[in-house]
């Protein structure tokens, strides 16, 4: 098998230049999906029989939760690739995925709280899934805190990669134990054991939103990795060339 593509991905320059070509298209697709999904979900999808309009927050809540969890695995995988093949680029991906994932986890918790008030009667409920998300936020914060604690960026990267991997081993255990803990302490007032099956009219916009969030995550991650690349490679000739060109262009436009 030809592994050239894999080794090429380790080059920050190659990543920067190839993403420059197709990033605008991906951004446009993201905009179309998110705008379409939001308008469809918020304005045209039918009301829920029991929850009325308040159910519509799932069009943000569910995709954010999906990406929060997937983002953790992406971060840990990038860290593992960095540790094994010593790729600079994968550490950058890991570093940029951490704050993004933490924000998405917070968004999932926040939208859940906003939805919980009218539906469950309180902003916070010790539900198994809610608690797991909170622990996920703590795991993200731990990785972030460790990343920035070291003077040497290299040690910070490797240490937080190992921590992310340890967290990955722990996530299934955490999830199962919270689940088990919840069945032990399940309060009688809340019945949320099974999500009712959704009507296709409600489900289709949700699917669009999930796709849109995946694209948005990719765009946001690539953008922040590009910034990271420029910052770290600022002394190389290709970055200097680019900066020179960009300043000349803006100067030319200004004149």
């Amino acid at each position: 098998m030809n592994w050239n593509w894999f080794y090429r991905m380790g080059s920050p320059r190659w990543f920067y230049e190839s993403t420059s070509r197709w990033l605008p298209w991906l951004a446009a697709l993201t905009f179309v999906l998110l705008a379409g999904g939001l308008v469809w979900g918020l304005a045209f999808a039918p009301q829920d029989a029991k929850q009325g309009n308040s159910f519509r927050i799932i069009y943000l809540h569910v995709p954010a939760s999906f990406l929060a969890l997937a983002g953790y695995f992406l971060m840990a995988t990038a860290g593992a690739i960095g540790l094994i093949w010593k790729m600079k680029l994968s550490y950058m991906v890991m570093k940029c995925a951490a704050p993004l994932g933490a924000v998405l986890t917070f968004l999932a918790l926040f939208t859940g709280a906003v939805w919980g008030k009218p539906t469950w009667g309180s902003y916070w409920v010790w539900d198994a899934r809610v608690t797991s998300m909170l622990i996920l936020l703590f795991l993200y914060l731990g990785v972030l805190a460790l990343q920035y604690a070291f003077d040497s960026k290299d040690v910070g990267n490797k240490a937080s990669a190992i921590l992310a991997l340890v967290g990955t081993v722990n996530i299934p255990i955490i999830y199962k134990s919270v689940d088990w803990w919840f069945t032990l302490h399940q309060p009688a007032t809340i019945r949320f054991t099974e999500a009712p099956s959704m009507h296709p009219d409600m489900f289709q916009p949700l699917l669009v939103m999930i796709l849109g969030f995946y694209c948005f995550y990719a765009v946001a991650l690539i953008l922040s990795v590009r910034v990271e690349i420029l910052a770290r490679e600022r002394k190389t000739s290709w970055v200097r060339e680019r900066v020179k060109q960009a300043t000349q262009n803006t100067l030319g436009a200004g004149l």
């Binding site: 703590f138 731990g142 604690a149 040497s152 040690v155 921590l163 255990i173 955490i174 088990w180 032990l184």
Partner: protein, 225 residues
């Protein structure tokens, strides 16, 4: 092949070192008792209410006591350079690390387990709960020590790593806390308590197998660089 090279040597060495500074063993224990005493003062002396939350309080305090004592696990070896000497040795350092963690458990986890009945008494834990609580603590503090050692290895080179250690290890402690306090709670409610204890044992087995490997690679990273 991993032989037990260095396990007993490092266990004996660390126990000897700790024996020369006995105050350090007492501090987490005193903290454990003091902090748990504050809970009835801050909430209520009502025995009925305390009995329900007693296992939880004891477990949270055991967690904090372990975390407080973990910072010193590799600190003195890091400062006097013996950690570096250990790392440049040709063999794997998995067994020495396990020996050090075992010494830590023998001087924090085990004493905490042994004084826990006293706290049970203070927090009016029903008598049925003592044995399961102690069994759970004995197994669970092993997991706590291993994970705390991982945190200590990650933060050993940082000047003020103590708080960061707490921050990164605490989310990993959650399963241990859940099943540990469940062991005692089950017995109080008259249920079979060996189930959660068995799960704690499984977690300990997993931690013994994986943590020393992770700790030794982390030490190589944070100490050599």
């Amino acid at each position: 092949m991993i032989s037990n090279t260095g396990f007993w040597a490092f266990l004996r060495r660390d126990l000897l070192l700790i024996n020369r500074r006995r105050g350090e063993v007492a501090s987490p224990l005193i903290f454990f008792i003091m902090a748990a005493t504050f809970v009835p003062l801050a909430t209520t002396p009502d025995a009925e209410l305390l009995k329900d939350i007693a296992p939880g309080i004891i477990w949270v305090m055991a967690l904090l006591a372990t975390l407080l004592s973990a910072e010193s696990l590799f600190a003195s070896d890091y400062q006097d350079g013996s950690l570096e000497q250990l790392l440049i040795s040709p063999q794997l350092i998995v067994m020495p690390v396990l020996g050090k963690v075992t010494a830590h458990w023998l001087t924090t986890g085990l004493p905490l387990t042994l004084v826990s009945p006293l706290l049970g008494l203070l927090l009016s834990l029903p008598t049925d709960g003592y044995l399961p609580m102690m069994a759970g603590l004995a197994v669970g503090t092993g997991c706590l020590s291993l994970l705390a050692a991982l945190g200590a290895a990650l933060t050993v080179s940082l000047p003020k790593g103590g708080l960061l250690l707490t921050l990164i290890v605490m989310p990993l402690y959650m399963p241990v806390i859940i099943f540990g306090s469940a062991t005692a709670q089950y017995s109080i409610q008259g249920l079979a308590w060996t189930g959660p204890l068995a799960i704690l044992g499984a977690m300990l087995a997993l931690a013994i197998a994986l943590c020393p490997l992770a700790i030794s690679s982390v030490l190589r990273l944070t100490t050599i660089n």
